[in-house]
């Protein structure tokens, strides 16, 4: 049977008919991922894989061009005393900083990602959201991280959210679109699954958990539900969608647990920066500290790793 090429944005399925999520089952499954023992060479490989999947992020009101350039410098020179390190996948900034990041990164293979659509709340008109998206792409963003309108989603206005994502996808042009569900505001895992399905059908290249501005941000159960939705979507349509947990993942060990979950849910095809990302600001340093520990045998201190 051949896979039929579908238009990216298909019709919105009936979200009321989506299978409810068994929360107890999800928690038990997630707990199992955290019992895998990953040591020595496998651990080093896992840590390097994590590093290659990081979207090094700064999304603060206090960001300045200097801060962004410094972050780009960090992305290029993670820790030069460790040989054979991969580079991070992307640097993630606000739209006004895209040009600066683009210039600082050059063509080293590190993407520039920009949040858009009135991040983090998404409370603005569609016209402005689309304009913001186009501006970010024109400035040189390779990837756009948009937020969904949670208010509309929660009051059941699924078509509004669907159309909005589809419109932003169109405004992105060649840039990849990541859709932030802000799961901390969605309340239940059922909502998370519905929002995931909606976003994928509307044309998302990636679905992303959180803005990092709301607690809880990324958690393993939420990410697991989204990974399962990606799997079902793939089986249904033949289109791969990427996953990006963001916010609250600052320990290397936790990141490795996420990799285990990814491997055991979606398989090897998704184990690359093309299909999986970590949105994080402090994770990179913890991973570097673990790699240095593996290289020297001595536990490390944050004092000896550059902050940005």
């Amino acid at each position: 049977m051949s896979v039929i090429a579908l238009p990216i944005a298909s019709a919105l399925p009936d979200l009321k008919r989506i299978t409810p999520v068994d929360e107890v089952g999800v928690n038990e499954r997630v707990a199992r991922f955290q019992t895998r023992s990953i040591k020595k060479e496998s651990k080093i490989e896992a840590l390097k894989t994590v590093l290659s999947m990081i979207d090094l992020t700064t999304l603060e009101g206090q960001d300045t061009p200097g801060k962004v350039r410094q972050l780009c410098q960090k992305a290029i020179h993670l820790h030069d005393s460790l040989p054979d390190l991969p580079h991070v996948a992307a640097v993630c900034v606000y739209p006004t900083m895209v040009g600066i990041a683009r210039a600082a990164l050059g063509d080293r293979g590190i993407n520039v990602a920009s949040v858009a659509t009135a991040f983090p709340s998404g409370m603005s008109s569609r016209k402005i959201k689309l304009e913001e998206t186009r501006t970010a792409v024109e400035e040189g963003a390779d990837e756009i991280d948009m937020v969904i309108s949670r208010g509309a989603f929660l009051q059941g206005d699924y078509h509004f959210v669907f159309d909005e994502i589809a419109a932003v996808k169109e405004a992105c042009g060649d840039a990849h679109l990541k859709v932030i569900l802000e799961t901390g505001e969605l309340g239940t895992l059922d909502h998370v699954r519905r929002a995931s399905v909606l976003a994928m059908h509307a044309g998302a290249d990636f679905i992303k958990t959180s803005t990092g501005k709301i607690q809880p941000a990324a958690t393993m159960p939420v990410t697991f539900v989204m990974l399962k939705a990606i799997k079902d979507f793939y089986q249904e349509t033949g289109r791969m969608v990427g996953m990006k947990p963001a916010g609250g993942i600052s320990a290397a060990k936790l990141a490795v647990h996420y990799l285990v979950m990814l491997r055991e849910t979606l398989g090897n095809a998704w184990m690359t920066p093309e299909w999986f990302r970590f949105g994080a600001s402090s994770l990179a340093n913890d991973v570097l500290m673990q790699l240095q520990k593996q290289a020297t045998g001595v536990y490390q201190s944050a004092d000896y790793f550059s902050k940005d």
Binding site: V298, Y299, D303
Partner: protein, 290 residues
Amino acid sequence: MAEASARVPVEKTYKIYIGGKFPRTESGRYFLLQDPKGAVIANICRGSRKDFRNAVVAARGAFAGWSAATAYLRGQILYRIAEMLEGRHDQFVAELVLQGVSKRKAKKEVDATVDRLIYYAGWADKYQQVFSSVNPVNSSHFNFSVLEPTGVVSMLVPDDSGLLGLVSNIAPAIVGGNTCVVLASESMPLCAISFAEVLHASDVPAGVVNILTGFREELTTQFASHMDVNAVVFCDSEVGVAKSIHIEAADNMKRVISRVDTRWTDDSAQSPYFVRDTQETKTTWHPIGG
């Protein structure tokens, strides 16, 4: 059945103390503690390097808050520890006796420990005046030096003084705003864990003092080499240990503090210099005049 034997004895489980919690060792390993006649007293956690790593994370996390606490508050808390220990006097005497100390000596040791805590509680708001200075300089600057805590201190406390030796090292470090990770006496670990319960009831913030039990031989290297530890204290002089501690500590230029040959029951085992051992001197040049 005789009535007296109807009640099942309730034995205490001795666990380690990390970040204000009493977990078991993550390694799941234990060793048997025996009394001088060879009878088993308790299963003691055989702490691992990962327990140590976790304890350092807890100590580092607690440092900002504890070092910023006022000297008065730290003094009050040390005094509170002394009060709580005094209230549990008999329990500590019994534990020392169980580990082979004579009753007379045990009583003296607990008394001396309480007194030592009070001694350092008193120093809390005084050592700064004694050790800080205004320095004469040949330029138009007001030049002064003040003390700041060094950070996280790892401690290999004396093996032959299960309570007094432990507290004589912890007290001067924490009164100066440091946080610490302590490896308890290997042959007399009971009082260290009971002392953790005293700390726990004394408003000492979680993570300021972390106490592990386990084998000296296995953990000494970690205590000396961890890059996030700023000073290491050791008290016993096993052959070659001092040298290896100095070598391991050199990587991040830790302070290495040797308290070998200290007589812990003596008054010479308490002094403001013990506080200064884990302090850094910060000198400020402040322009004046013209």
